[in-house]
């Protein structure tokens, strides 16, 4: 029986809280990166729709643990929709639905007994536009996810500091933790959103074009952060920026018109792809 999502099986309602205990999270941290094997994700015949429009048309794709997999492809090819299916955020859009299998930790997260709330606590997500909560202070933003899952108040500040350090933001904000998050720069806001997510100690990080709203300097910092995080998490990165994929990704998947064209080690996809369309795309012939 799988350790992470299994709690959500018997009663979908009580599951959410049991899924990630802070003690478990702390234990994970002490493991050395070499032995800290995370959990990968496998997608099987996944199809996703907006009303009747099919945006993802049957995709099979593996995301190995503790690796960064980039998903590239032209606008509207379904790459964002695909990652939003992995933590079941896709179905939050009115009229959107998906079917197929997303296998995480030996379970299909589309199994009707699985609580999407539990999935989202274990598979975190960072969005294109930084979205800190404007009514909350910096520290409250970082602890927002923890407070929602009922972590004891006295542990919060320690967990928040760790998350901010991991996101490389601590030194910049430690003297103004109680100020509103809206006062941070775009890049800092995005790192705050990453801190907010990793404070929950998820297994998988989904990043949907996390740098597309940022300047080059901030982009670089986030990329360094992503590479650092892969020792602890499995990272799935949607990007429009091909050089970014070559800089950070271990593996790259190319999507076109809702279908997966090919996936493989980044170097091979960019230098010797099997498919002519991939070659055209990575050499800038279209998209």
């Amino acid at each position: 029986m799988s350790p992470v999502l299994s709690a959500s099986r018997p009663t979908a309602k009580s599951s959410a809280r049991q899924i990630k205990k802070p003690a478990q999270a702390a234990a994970r941290k002490n493991k050395s990166p070499a032995t800290d094997k995370g959990l990968g994700v496998r997608i099987r015949s996944l199809r996703a729709f907006y009303d009747d429009v099919e945006a993802v048309k049957g995709v099979d794709l593996d995301f190995p643990a503790n690796q960064i997999t980039a998903i590239i492809g032209p606008s509207g090819c379904g790459k964002s929709t695909l990652v939003r299916c992995i933590n079941r955020m896709h179905e939050e859009i009115a009229g959107a639905h998906a079917h197929g299998q997303v296998i995480f930790d030996k379970l299909n997260i589309y199994n009707p007994e699985i609580d999407p709330v539990a999935v989202r606590r274990t598979i975190g997500m960072v969005f294109q536009k930084p979205n800190p909560f404007p009514t909350m202070s910096i520290i409250d933003n970082v602890t927002a996810g923890l407070r929602l899952s009922g972590v004891k108040r006295d542990k919060l500040s320690e967990l928040a500091e760790n998350a901010l350090r991991d996101a490389g933001l601590w030194d910049e904000v430690k003297h103004r933790l109680n100020k509103h998050a809206g006062g941070l720069s775009g890049g800092q806001q995005q790192r705050l959103c990453i801190a907010r997510m990793i404070a929950l100690e998820p297994e998988v990080l989904l990043m949907d074009e996390p740098c597309s709203a940022l300047d080059p300097q901030s982009t670089l910092r986030i990329e360094e952060l992503i590479v650092k995080l892969k020792t602890r998490f499995t990272v799935i990165l949607v990007t429009h920026n091909l050089p970014q994929a070559t800089r950070v990704a271990d593996r790259t998947a190319f999507m076109l018109d809702g279908k997966l064209v090919e996936a493989g080690p980044t170097r091979r996809i960019f230098t010797a792809p099997d498919d002519a369309r991939t070659k055209q795309y990575v050499t800038g012939k279209f998209g």
Partner: protein, 287 residues
């Protein structure tokens, strides 16, 4: 002729004429407003004194007629209870319409009836409560709380619509952020959506309260009126609109002056509520 000097004399004249015409329209609209305020101040200011605010109407046939203490307190009590009923229900309804029902058939139906309710004349609410709560003899006859229920019915559509608008203004990416952190829907609403919309919710509620404070018709057949100050919501009660309504019909110049004084007091209270509402709204715009 210079290319920049091509504005014809005719166009120049039209522009000038239109500017003056619009200014004249503005002044025309101001005239009744200023006249009403001036009249109320001139006729009412003479009535104001410390005892005007600290004594109850005496109801005596001769001599000192007393002040309006019971009317001020009555208005605060009746409107306060009405707000305590209408604001939570109105906001809950708005949450349903914007966060849960959205485009469902039931939500459209509710929205339609809320709009219909907005157009119902206030005296109809008074008659309705008179029939249902007063004539039926439920918990006695005339009572302050029954007036509050009538006012609450009047406020409900105003609160609901204003709250719905301010909930629509909460960016969707904040909802996504909360859900992606594994927040259940209700936590997302209480911890993120409502705090973000708070200034707007406050403004809407205060404007509804301001409107209800001046209503006479719903109170006529429900509260009836009284002379003495009472803090019992089950008793008949005085209120500012009722005081004005009764006093101004008396052929006693002292009472007519008291009516003007009461009107000035009522306008001042409503003005204060409006200012607070504006300040709350401004706070929301700064973000």
């Amino acid at each position: 002729m210079n290319a920049l000097a091509t504005v014809s004399i005719r166009r120049h004249r039209t522009d000038k004429f239109m500017r003056w015409a619009f200014l004249a329209g503005l002044l025309l609209a101001f005239i009744p407003l200023v006249l009403v305020l001036l009249f109320v101040i001139i006729r009412g200011a003479g009535a104001l004194s410390l005892s005007f605010f600290t004594t109850d109407p005496t109801g005596a046939f001769f001599g000192d007629q007393g002040g309006i203490k019971s009317a001020i307190l009555g208005t605060l009590e009746i409107v306060g209870l009405a707000a305590a009923i209408a604001v939570p229900i109105g906001i809950a309804l708005a949450v349903y319409l914007n966060e849960i029902g959205r485009k469902s058939r039931l939500a459209s139906l509710v929205r339609y009836f809320v709009d219909v309710l907005t157009g119902v004349p206030s005296i109809v609410f008074g008659l309705f409560i008179y029939t249902v709560l007063v004539v039926s003899g439920l918990f006695g006859g005339f009572a302050a709380w029954k007036g509050s229920v009538a006012l609450a019915l009047l406020m409900l559509p105003v609160v609901t619509r204003a709250s719905e608008v301010s909930l629509t203004l909460v960016p969707d990416n904040l909802r996504e952020a909360a859900l992606a952190l594994g927040a259940p829907r209700w936590r997302m609403i209480t911890s993120v959506v409502l705090p973000t919309a708070l200034p707007g919710l406050l403004t809407g509620s205060l404007l509804a309260i301001a409107r209800a404070s001046g209503e006479t018709a719903p109170l006529l057949f429900t509260v009836l009126g009284a002379q003495a100050t009472t803090f019992s919501l089950g008793a008949q009660m005085n209120s500012l609109p009722l005081q004005i309504f009764n006093d101004v019909r008396e052929p006693n110049p002292q009472l007519v002056t008291r009516a003007w004084g009461a009107a000035l007091t009522l306008i001042t209270i409503i003005l204060l509520i409006n200012i607070v509402a504006r300040l709350a709204a401004r706070r929301s715009n700064l973000r």
